[in-house]
């Protein structure tokens, strides 16, 4: 496995006497997109603020590119590019002036690098306009530009698709995957949208109420929480139906219940396909119910055993 660019262990944070983060630990490798998934108020932004040194953890260790963020701030933060919450840039400056300003602060960025980044985020035409004239998508791209300027090893993006249109989200997704897989940057993305994380990330940590409740490859996790379908058959045809369904490779965890109901897990988009197969096999289908697993269901099932903290955690 490749190099660890971000390592977090035992992170804790309480604000105003309320513990927001309980013992969060994870590692992000170079060249992977790491998702940080949780509902609003789970502690995502609080964690990210600690990762970029805006707030101090009460305990725990953050190591970026081999340097402790708390003890060697300059060396550690040099490897980080980030957008925390919205991409807030100086709206009274042009895009280029913004980038030049951050370049001066990093001290290692050449003029050529600025041009390269402008091209990379596709802002060549608008770069000399004031940022206040930019659309949200352009701001987001400029935000990514400033994060990439100093060629960081770790890119931290907080809810990067907020407010983007579907085309913009898709573009961003491809760009992020390019950065991770081609340029070998470790990308850390927080989101409250399951679908987004599913499409974008290689691995994911699910957090709720300030705790990591599950870590794994996105693929495995999705399988674990795939959608359900409930099928209702007549009593005569149920045997036949189970036989047909068992032969489908995309149906799993099949459960035949006594009341003529068959529960299974499958991609709900393929229900029509399966229905056609059943009809061809002379099975009478009375009713089909699809149950899409929402993020809420996922959290409910994941947090079922864990005693949750009371109250809401505002970030």
């Amino acid at each position: 496995m490749s190099e660890v660019v971000l390592s977090v262990s035992g992170l804790q944070k309480s604000i105003g006497g309320k513990q927001l983060i309980h013992d969060i630990s994870f590692e992000v490798m170079a060249g992977e997109v790491y998702g940080f998934l949780g509902p609003n108020g789970a502690g995502k932004t609080t964690t990210i603020r600690m990762l970029v040194g805006l707030t101090r953890p009460n305990s725990g260790e953050i190591t970026i590119g081999g340097h402790s963020l708390q003890k060697q701030f300059i060396e550690a933060i040099r490897h980080v590019g980030s957008i925390v919450e919205n991409p807030e840039l100086y709206s009274f400056l042009t895009g280029r002036e913004n980038l030049e300003m951050f370049a001066r602060m990093s001290g290692t960025v050449t003029k050529e690098r600025i041009e390269e980044v402008i091209k990379q985020v596709e802002l060549t035409e608008a770069i000399d306009q004031k940022v206040k004239t930019y659309s949200l998508g352009m701001r987001q791209r400029l935000g990514i530009g400033q994060a990439l300027l100093h060629s960081p090893k770790l890119l931290i993006l907080d809810e990067p698709t907020n407010g983007l249109d579907p085309a913009g989200i898709r573009e961003l997704r491809e760009f992020i995957q390019y950065l991770a897989h081609e340029q070998k940057i470790g990308v850390f993305i927080s989101s409250h949208l399951l679908s987004e994380i599913e499409l974008m990330c290689d691995r994911v940590a699910i957090i709720n109420k300030g705790r990591v409740i599950s870590v794994g490859a996105v693929h495995d996790m999705m399988e674990q929480f795939a959608d359900h379908a409930h099928w209702f058959f007549t009593e005569q045809s149920i045997g036949k139906a189970v036989e047909v369904m068992n032969n489908c490779e995309y149906v799993y965890e099949l459960q035949a219940l006594s009341d003529g109901r068959v529960k299974c897990r499958m991609d709900t988009e393929r229900i029509g396909e399966l229905n056609r197969l059943l009809v061809h096999a002379d099975v009478d289908v009375l009713r089909i119910e699809s149950k899409t697993v929402t993020l809420e269901d996922l959290f409910l099932s994941l947090t079922a055993g864990t005693p949750g903290e009371e109250g809401e955690n505002h970030v």
Partner: protein, 326 residues
């Protein structure tokens, strides 16, 4: 550090704060010039003569009449007595205190502007240097760079002090150039009295000496610069402590205005002399007017202001470096 100061200056200029200050000066100085011109004219028509000696004698008689009245409060009496001795001194030494000219106007301008007008200009420059970064969210970009927090705040202080100095220079330049159109550009070498000291609560003229006006102006604008630096430091602290520009502006304006009110009212409340806002009228020590509260002197006011400035900077640094950014 040069790069950081460059960044901060760029932001200050592009935010148009300095333009606002320049614009205010350009609009108001002609106004003051006109007001000065009018009052000189009115005085002339009332007394009916152009001769300054007659005018000064008139003033002395005026003051004596007021002193003769039994109803005036004692602190007012002290003040009038110093006025009187000063006017007498001018007359005896053949010095026209209000001889018109751009330089005299510039001197008068600083006398009037030092306690409220110029500090307000500095507040405009300083009060959102830090708070705007918070309210616009750009503080997150600023503090996630490989630069220590104290360096970022230092670059802001240096920028503020640069522009404060520039404001002082520009206001001298503007008041000289603009008023010169009306009053003429002479007066650099006119003699001015200074060196007044206050023993107990009476004006001591024993160490008074005559100074060429350009030297006097230099001293005056130096004191103005010092006041503005201290106000800048205090505004910065407010800017660090208060996240909203409007609130910061309100606090500083209230502090400055209440200083003006206190200097009129607090003659009997001696502890008030440790407040920064009653110590801003530094130029009156040069001109020889009695301080608002007993026990105040130029070294005293300078020390009080220095302590306020230094403490403000310490508070600003400690809070800025240690705070969690949310």
């Amino acid at each position: 550090m040069y790069d950081l100061v460059y960044n901060e200056s760029l932001k200050l200029i592009k935010r148009k704060r300095f333009y606002v200050v320049l614009l205010i000066l350009i609009v108001l100085i002609p106004l003051f010039t006109y007001a000065q011109f009018r009052s000189a004219e009115v005085a002339r028509s009332q007394i009916g003569t152009d001769d300054w000696r007659t005018m000064l004698q008139q003033k002395i008689v005026d003051t004596q009449n007021r002193l003769a009245s039994s109803r005036i409060p004692p602190e007012w009496r002290d003040y009038l007595e110093t006025q009187l001795s000063l006017q007498q001194y001018y007359l005896d030494h053949n010095i026209d205190p209000s001889s018109p000219g751009a330089v005299t106007f510039a001197r008068g301008f600083m006398d009037q502007a030092i306690s409220l007008f110029l500090p307000m200009m500095i507040v405009i420059l300083a009060v959102d240097l830090v708070s705007s970064e918070f309210s616009e969210g750009t503080i997150k970009l600023l503090l996630t760079r490989p630069v220590k927090r104290w360096k970022i705040l230092t670059s802001k202080f240096i920028t503020l002090f640069l522009f404060t100095s520039l404001t002082i220079v520009v206001s001298l330049l503007f008041s000289y150039v603009i008023s010169g159109i009306v009053f003429g550009y002479s007066g650099w070498t006119m003699p001015v009295l200074t060196g007044f000291t206050f023993s107990a609560d009476t004006l001591d003229t024993s160490s008074v000496f005559v100074l060429e006006q350009w030297k006097y102006i230099l001293m005056q604008y130096g004191l103005g610069w010092f006041v503005c630096m201290v106000i800048g430091a205090i505004s910065m602290m407010i800017s660090v402590l208060v996240r909203s520009t409007a609130a910061g502006m309100g606090i500083m304006m209230a502090a400055l205005v209440s200083g003006v009110i206190l200097t009129q009212m607090a003659a009997n409340w001696e502890q008030a002399k440790y407040l920064f806002n009653v110590n801003l009228q530094l130029t009156s020590y040069l001109a020889g007017t009695l301080p608002p509260i007993k026990g105040m002197s130029l070294p005293f006011s300078l020390s009080v202001l220095s302590i306020w400035g230094i403490i403000s900077m310490i508070v600003a640094y400690v809070v800025f470096i240690r705070q969690d950014v949310r």
